[in-house]
């Protein structure tokens, strides 16, 4: 032992300081050296190096030292990555499920063997503390591969009616470079897709190490490609990419949505959050304070699951703030390879700069910051701003970092209202020992995850993801698999360029409202009475705002009736009506909803002939075919009545001692634009599952043949359906589509019109990041398809509720 070390013992005995407990970087550095500190692209099972490529530097956030250089992929590289991925897909997707399971299992095993190296590589590149990469990130990645190895094995029985998309591009966020990568890659591979990973330029190294691991596992060539580039445009706009999985900022998510609009690529988005932490007066306050520390400062505060909005009941507000400040004073900030540091450097100085700017903006609050933080521009102290105003930028703006703001609320109702009054919806935590408050808050808070008396618990078996502007799609659990598969009947239409003028689409009605000859009776010998339909919303028939109607003609050009030319204001009114009733309809018990759907089916049965005749007259389909369409519609109503009380969710088998419930919840207000090929069955097939699962809908019937759908209001009016649950608006389909797509109170749009309209819907949905389901102009066979799981998927969103339990601690 060194003499100096011994000499210090006495003084340490007196002051009981912690000293240094450094973690070693050496494993990471020798791996980097093995690659000569330079990485090519990992394509088709090998490292591709080209001469004279543009390189990007990867630096250690702790000391700005150069770690390695990566290359900027060229167009050719991207093309090669995609073509080899496509070739690999043909092989990979046709492998026996068990073989794929073995590969995933093998990846898990290999990751496990390399976990120490993975932990230090992830830390050195991202600034995360090694304490956290060792204890949290890497074990979670491994757990995901084991979990999905299981899904790969049972895929054929669990997803019998589904097939993989194909070439999947995965863009992990820099906040969890390897965990985002792992959870998504595992799900994509398990379901038979091949993947191209584009890591963030801020922290690409763990993805490159993952490539090495895939190579060691002997994964078939091209199944996993890793490319590095500072821009994602050429990769994402490539026609042969089938699926894009993105994690990142809302702005980037919106950009990706617009970029891929109309191309037939499926998209999943996990975007930013400002998660509320609700501390009620009956909470275990000391535990809540620890929870706040975990919520706000885990992962250097750099997480979309960070609890950055602290909402505290006024009765315990000052107590919580005082205890929190004392607890925060114990936090240590410094090198991330030091085991005694709670927080390391932020991944870049830009992230810190945003925090500084926010701190300087007016917020009306008081600031508490931890002292003793290294004086470097990418370090930022754990910061609490309390008594802030809810209109301030620190309360509202999107950011990543160790900063939280505190606000008081008076009642449970107000607490929940504050939590939900936000564009974000990724997660929340609720702190109370009162089970009634805990469960009600968990149920009412709009988020993909709600923790009760905990924060940041995760497990591969429980879905993670957002609602509202925090995105759609899930990672973890069975639900996540649906983000990587499409129905067997569906074939992606051949990619083609569709030109849509987004500024002009649907801005004016093209309805033919010039006077025409009156409709004649089918007998044809006397002047018949006008059959003029009305819009149906808020539970009643309404005249369109324009006051205009236009004729619907039969195949033989006879006018069958006049339908209202609804427009923007009618959609606005309908959405308002839907929004108003959506929450109470979602809460209505399943049996009650089923009764209404059965009632609708009964009433339709008694008027079967009338509807069949109308379909026949409109479409020129045979009587038999039209009768069949109505009969199938009645079956569908029965089918969805059955599902009103049979899809509540699951108990997920996570590591939690307690219950992790995955609750299937309604999406909210869904805008539906119906197809022409099954003017009535399409309408019923879409509206029935939506309302069965608790959504309110604003539905635009078939453009050409709207009468049967519009006439359906008569049945609704006699079936005890609460006003506003189903709202039917006719008019120029493009105008109505535009309005629905751009309305921020509409949570999802299902569109079965033209290819152009599909593109517009996807493009326009970026505004409030609403979920979309579009046909890209392809015709769907509603007689044989479009039922079951697919509709359940689109009609619901999931919320994972973590409910720890336990009071027995001894004996």
């Amino acid at each position: 032992m060194a003499g100096q070390a011994i000499l210090n013992v006495e003084s340490i005995f007196d002051n009981l300081s912690y000293g240094s407990a450094p973690d070693s970087e050496s494993a990471a550095l020798s791996w980097l050296n093995k690659h000569s500190r330079h990485f090519g692209l990992y394509i088709n099972g090998q490292w591709v190096h080209r001469d004279a490529q543009i390189t990007v530097e990867s630096r250690n956030p702790a000391n700005d030292e150069l770690l390695a250089t990566t290359v900027e992929a060229s167009e050719d590289d991207i093309n090669l990555a995609i073509s080899t991925s496509r070739e690999a897909f043909n092989i990979w997707s046709s492998l026996n499920a068990h073989v794929r399971a073995r590969y995933l299992y093998s990846i898990a095993r290999t990751l496990q063997k390399c976990q120490s190296l993975l932990a230090v590589v992830e830390a050195i590149d991202s600034g995360k503390t090694t304490r956290e990469t060792r204890a949290t990130d890497i074990p979670a990645v491994i757990r995901h591969f084991y979990h999905y190895a299981g899904w790969a094995q049972i895929k054929d029985s669990e997803l019998a009616k589904w097939k993989p998309y194909g070439v999947t591009v995965i863009l992990p966020h820099w906040s969890f470079p390897l965990l985002h990568l792992g959870s998504r890659v595992a799900a994509a591979l398990a379901t038979g897709n091949t993947v191209i990973i584009l890591p963030s330029t801020l922290a690409p190294l763990s993805a490159l190490l993952f490539a090495d691991i895939c190579s060691q596992v002997g994964l078939p060539k091209g199944v996993v490609n890793v490319v590095t580039a500072s821009k994602d445009v050429s990769l994402l706009s490539h026609p042969n990419v089938d699926k894009v999985v993105f994690a990142g900022s809302i702005e980037d998510g919106q950009r990706v949505r617009k970029l891929t609009a109309g191309t037939g690529k499926s998209l999943s988005l996990e975007l930013s959050g400002r998660c509320p932490v609700l501390v009620f007066e009956e909470a275990d306050i000391d535990s809540a304070v620890e929870g706040i520390i975990e919520a706000a400062f885990f992962n250097n505060g750099l997480s979309n699951h960070s609890g950055t909005r602290l909402l505290i009941q006024e009765t315990v507000y000052s107590q919580v703030i005082e205890k929190l400040k004392i607890r925060m004073s114990k936090l240590t900030v410094g090198k991330n390879f030091e085991k005694n540091n709670d927080q390391g450097p932020l991944i870049s100085s830009e992230v810190a700069l945003k925090l500084i700017t926010l701190l300087q903006s007016p917020h009306g609050g008081q600031v508490y910051q931890v002292e003793g933080v290294p004086n470097q521009n990418n370090y930022f102290p754990p910061t609490l701003i309390y008594d802030v105003q809810t209109s301030s930028e620190v309360y509202v703006d999107e950011f990543y970092g160790p900063l939280l703001v505190a606000v008081a609320f008076r009642t449970v109702k107000e607490g929940i209202a504050l939590a939900n009054h936000s564009v974000y919806g990724i997660a929340a935590s609720v702190w109370t020992e009162n089970i009634n408050i805990a469960l009600e808050a968990a149920s009412c808070i709009q988020a993909g995850t709600v923790w009760i008396n905990a924060h940041n618990l995760t497990d591969a078996a429980a879905g993670v993801g957002g609602c509202k502007k925090s995105g759609y799609g899930r990672s973890g659990g069975k639900r996540s698999l649906y983000d990587y598969v499409q129905p067997n009947y569906q074939n992606r239409s051949v990619p083609r360029t569709i030109n849509v003028d987004f500024n002009k689409f649907g801005t004016s009605s093209s309805a033919d409202i010039l006077p025409i000859a009156p409709p004649t009776d089918t007998a044809g010998d006397k002047l018949s009475v006008d059959k003029t339909y009305k819009l149906f919303y808020g539970g009643g028939q309404k005249r369109p705002d324009s006051g205009a109607s236009y004729p619907i003609r039969s195949a033989s050009n006879q006018v069958l009736g006049y339908v209202p030319d609804g427009g923007r204001k009618d959609i606005r009114n309908a959405v308002e009506a839907a929004d108003k009733v959506a929450r109470s309809w979602a809460k209505k018990e399943g049996h009650g909803k089923a009764q209404i759907l059965y009632f609708i089916a009964e009433n339709l049965q008694s008027r079967l002939k009338e509807f069949a005749d109308l379909i026949s007259a409109m479409t020129n389909k045979s009587k038999e075919e039209s009768t069949n369409e109505v009969e199938v519609a009645i079956q569908r109503l029965f089918y969805w009545a059955a599902y009103c009380d049979k899809y509540g969710g699951l108990v997920q088998e996570t590591s939690l001692y307690g219950l992790t419930v995955e609750k299937n919840e309604s999406v909210g207000v869904i805008g539906i634009v119906c197809p022409d090929n099954f003017p009535f069955l399409g309408f019923i097939s879409l509206v029935a599952p939506a309302i069965a699962r608790g959504n309110a809908v604003v539905i635009v019937p078939s453009n050409k043949f709207p009468l049967a759908a519009l006439g359906f209001h008569q049945i609704l009016e006699t079936s005890d359906l609460p006003g506003g649950v189903i709202n039917i608006i006719t008019g120029d389909q493009d105008v109505l589509t535009r309005t629905l797509t751009e309305h921020h109170d509409v949570n999802a749009v299902w569109y079965f019109g033209s290819a152009e309209g599909s593109k517009f819907v996807e493009f326009g949905s970026a505004g409030n990041v609403k979920a979309t389901w579009v046909s890209y102009g392809a015709e769907v066979d509603f007689i044989n398809n479009c039922d079951g799981e697919e509709l359940l998927y689109h009609s619901t969103t999931t919320k994972s509720i973590w409910m720890p339990m336990g009071d027995v601690f001894a004996n």
Partner: protein, 322 residues
């Protein structure tokens, strides 16, 4: 020794034990974290281990205790590490390193006192368990008499057990009254109150028992007798430590904490010290406010220090027997 820190207690205040909310799963997560958030290595580890020794109430509480093993215990307390090891560690302090106290049954207090006198270390306090230890199921009068006898014989610290019958039936005032009488019986001797946490059934009962004892004048609150099925755990400790913090906020009195039972490794000892430092602050890591109730811990610390000083692992016989 250590007479200046005496908790005067306060009147029984039911408000302090009303609406107690303790969430076991959250406390368990925090307790598990404490061990992972801080680490001490190399000379820090050695220094912390030495500090741990200075906090040990070196204990023997067995039916077969006799003057001979009590005497060995006392000599070990006076000289916990061999001279050779102290030299290797370059310990040059004027103050010799001893354990914080020895802890024995009332009947062994005299023997302990004689042994410490022989060792020339009468400054080492003798702690005596009392009040029908470990179960406390004897009449109050005899429990109080035990305290007086132990003090009479030379004990300057008394580790009492609380009345679990009262605690489990919610008679907190009853617990308070008894402990208060015990405090009186202690006189100038320090009183540590053993909650027997393993028998209290819930974490909220542990919190309440902690508060009630502190109100009644406990100078230390102690987890267990070492005889219950579950003894000192970090989960239980966290609840008691939070009670100490809350009591300090209200009364400004500083109360000590003594985990006892099941603490056997040097590594654990460092975590306990770290827990005190993080949760209560620097001041609470000295033996004035922190004690280990342990018998086997010292041997493991000796082993670790020997390894630190020499670079090799010792055999048991390399360490003097206690």
């Amino acid at each position: 020794m250590m007479a200046e820190q005496i908790n005067c207690g306060c009147d029984f205040n039911e408000a302090l034990i009303k609406n107690v909310k303790i969430n076991l799963s959250a406390v368990t997560r925090r307790a598990a974290e404490i061990a992972s958030r801080r680490a001490v290595k190399k000379q820090w580890q050695a220094a912390w281990e030495l500090r741990a020794i200075s906090c040990i109430d070196l204990t023997t509480l067995a039916g077969d205790d006799t003057p001979s093993n009590v005497s060995r215990l006392c000599f070990k307390a006076a000289c916990p590490l061999s001279k050779e090891l102290m030299n290797l560690l370059k310990w040059q302090k004027e103050k010799v390193l001893t354990t914080a106290a020895v802890c024995v049954y009332p009947n062994q207090v005299k023997a302990a006192r004689e042994a410490l006198a022989k060792a020339g270390h009468l400054e080492i306090p003798i702690a005596s368990v009392a009040t029908g230890f470990p179960c406390g199921q004897t009449p109050l009068s005899s429990r109080l008499a035990e305290i007086r006898a132990a003090v009479e014989d030379g004990a300057s610290e008394i580790d009492i057990v609380i009345n679990r019958t009262y605690a489990l039936t919610g008679n907190w005032k009853g617990v308070y009254d008894e402990v208060k009488l015990m405090k009186e019986a202690c006189g100038k001797a320090h009183m540590k109150t053993i909650l027997a946490t393993g028998e209290l059934g819930s974490l909220s009962n542990i919190y309440k028992a902690s508060m009630v004892c502190m109100m009644a004048g406990a100078d230390f609150i102690k987890t267990s007798t070492g005889k219950e099925g579950v003894n000192a755990t970090f989960v239980v400790a966290l609840v008691m430590i939070r009670a100490i913090r809350d009591f300090n906020n209200i009364t400004k009195q500083k109360i000590g904490f003594k985990p006892a039972g099941g603490i056997r490794t040097a590594k654990d000892a460092c975590v306990w010290l770290s827990m005190m430092k993080e949760e209560l602050g620097e001041e609470y890591t000295s033996n004035k406010f922190f004690r280990f109730g342990a018998s086997a811990l010292l041997a493991d610390i000796e082993r670790q220090l020997y390894h630190f000083a020499t670079g090799c692992y010792p055999a048991l016989i390399d360490m003097p027997m206690g």
